[in-house]
């Protein structure tokens, strides 16, 4: 794997920590767990043009788990959609970087999200539009594992298979934790793979922090004909910051300035 992409993920994580510490609120755990997925998409696979964020032929991305906005913003800024210096304005009044993604405010954000469970339907709609227009773009969508407790996700899973949306490539960021506890404590989502298989999807399961595995999975997903693909990513919530890893409480609490310093030092040593 290219050292550049590894460096990119480290820098994204540092941005996430800095942004959240500056904001004083937000969601570090689920942002850090999705970093490699986003890096693979924005720096390896997605056909986008930062100078023309509304380009009709671009690949689309829907951050279904909208609370991971800091990770998306880090990727977009580093990809050139807006200055990296702007990241520090996250969640501040008049910032283009809202607490959850807003397509009307942030260049590169293809869909406003934040209310869980709604994004896969939107991704399907984007793919249907591509079909109507004879375009070949892909639509990527990252869901959380807690998020798939929402019934609409399964309505959308049915629709994607029914309409044979093979240009929809979804990810489940399977970090096993949600706000009130583990998935198993709150509401079991298992077995994820079999559920999607039963709904008619291609299913892959990989280590969601393994950049090579992610790359290979996306390559394979793009070969799918007649079926949508979901890549179930085994991840660690809070990945990269030792005291945040696998700790439920770091779902929706920002680090203090001191904690951020410790985290940034850890990330710099990676």
């Amino acid at each position: 794997m290219s050292q550049d992409l590894v460096a990119t993920t480290n820098r994204m994580r540092a941005h996430i920590v800095e942004m959240l510490a500056a904001a004083g609120s937000g969601h570090p755990g689920g942002s850090l767990s999705a970093v490699e997925i986003l890096a693979t998409l924005y720096f390896k696979h997605m056909r986008v043009d930062p100078g023309n964020p509304k380009w009709e032929d671009r690949d689309r991305f829907v951050l279904c788990k909208g609370h991971a906005a800091p990770a998306l913003y880090a990727a977009l800024a580093m990809r050139g959609f807006f200055p990296e210096e702007e990241l520090i304005t996250l969640r501040k009044l008049d910032s283009r970087l809202q607490g959850h993604p807003c397509m009307g405010k942030t260049p590169g954000v293809d869909m406003s999200t934040g209310s869980l469970g709604q994004g896969l339907s939107v991704a399907n709609g984007m793919a249907l539009a591509g079909r109507v227009d004879g375009k070949d773009y892909y639509v990527y969508c990252i869901m959380g594992d807690g998020e798939i407790q929402e019934g609409q996700v399964w309505e959308a899973a049915m629709s994607a298979a029914h309409y044979k949306l093979d240009h929809v490539i979804a990810f489940v960021d399977h970090n096993r934790l949600q706000i009130d506890g583990t998935n198993e404590q709150v509401m079991s989502v298992m077995p994820i793979d079999e559920k999607f298989k039963a709904f008619g999807w291609n299913v892959m399961r990989i280590d969601g922090h393994d950049l090579d595995a992610l790359d290979a999975a996306v390559v394979e997903a793009k070969r799918s004909v007649g079926k949508p693909t979901v890549i179930v990513c085994e991840t660690i919530k809070g990945k990269g910051v030792s005291f945040m890893e696998n700790v439920v409480d770091w779902h929706g609490v920002a680090p203090t300035a001191e904690q951020a310093q410790v985290a940034l030092a850890e990330l710099a040593a990676r």
């Binding site: 829907v62 397509m103 009307g104 406003s112 709604q118 339907s121 709609g125 249907l128 609409q152 309505e155």
Partner: protein
């Protein structure tokens, strides 16, 4: 003529499909009833039946809209505005997307299916959403024109249409303009502000009131949001008394919008006719309209209370 507004909606969709390749339609297994199936038959590649899954339908419509499509997503008004309310809120209105939500079989005129299927709250909840336009056409001619106009209007909108056939009051050359109330009858004693199939009933009431010595102005307020506030103020100044009538709950609907507007800009007595904080019930559509006092007789009674 004298057909249901849903029929005109379907016919207008078909026409739109011919002239605008960006028009797409979605339904939730009620395409035959909402008449979106007419579009599906003519333009199958741009019609998506999403099954009995209103939330997914609205999300899919939102996704289509992000790519420049103009989706009309229809179902019974109870389900499309209620079941999918939060999808309409977040994936459509908060995202600022150009999705047209179409609710058919609204109000008690929906008939025999009963209270579970008769939306009384749809206008109120759609009206509460920022940026959402709310349109309730008075007859088939206006429903056809409103559908065409909403395709041109950029932004989220809710179009309410009915199952029951109702009288046509507009000529074929009627020029429809969103956001502009239509003064159908001039009067000096009281203004009746109506929407949907209550408009012909308001005209009937005005005719009878004229014979009884009360001069009633009649306004067809087809766009409930944004409401034509200037027209309402002009009516209030001219007649000093307002009656509203709508085929839905008086909580949050047309009457509320009128009262809100006038209480701030030109307070005059406002009396609201509609469902008085109740759900509907089974019966034939026309029977139920009378059962709930959604008729000329009730307007006349209230007009006398205000004017005598």
């Amino acid at each position: 003529m004298n057909s249901a507004t849903r029929e005109a909606y379907g016919a207008a969709l078909v026409e739109l499909g011919k002239t605008n390749s960006d028009i797409v339609a979605l339904d939730a297994d009620l395409a035959g009833s909402t008449k979106s199936a007419m579009f599906g038959k003519e333009h199958p590649e741009r019609f998506f039946d999403m099954g009995i899954a209103e939330a997914d339908m609205i999300g899919t419509a939102a996704g289509l809209a992000t790519c420049g499509k103009i989706p009309f997503a229809s179902s019974f008004s109870v389900f499309v505005t209620g079941r999918a309310f939060e999808q309409i809120r977040n994936s459509v209105c908060n995202a600022g997307l150009n999705v047209k939500v179409v609710g058919s079989h609204a109000g008690p005129s929906c008939g025999e299916d009963g209270s579970s299927h008769q939306a009384v709250e749809d206008i109120a909840i759609m009206r509460s959403l920022p940026h959402m336009m709310v349109v309730v056409p008075a007859d088939d001619v206006e429903a056809y024109a409103a559908t065409l106009a909403l395709a041109e209007h950029v932004g989220p909108a809710y179009l309410r249409v009915a199952r029951l056939a109702s009288p046509t009051i507009h000529d074929d050359d009627y020029v429809f303009e969103l956001e502009k109330g239509e003064v159908l009858r001039d009067g000096t004693d009281v203004t009746i502000v109506a929407c949907g199939m209550m408009v012909p009933r308001a005209l009937d009431a005005a005719d009878q009131l004229a014979e009884q010595g009360i001069s009633a102005q009649v306004v067809n307020m087809h766009t409930i949001k944004p409401i034509d506030a200037d027209l309402l103020v002009a009516c209030a100044k001219k007649t000093g008394k307002i009656i509203t009538i709508e085929e839905g709950s008086i909580v949050g609907g047309l009457g509320t919008a009128v009262a809100e507007t006038l209480s701030e800009r030109f307070p005059v007595p406002v009396r609201r006719i509609g469902l008085n904080d109740v759900f509907g019930t089974s019966g034939s559509g026309n029977e139920l309209l009378d059962y709930f006092g959604l008729n000329a007789a009730h307007i006349i009674e209230v007009a006398h209370e205000l004017c005598d």
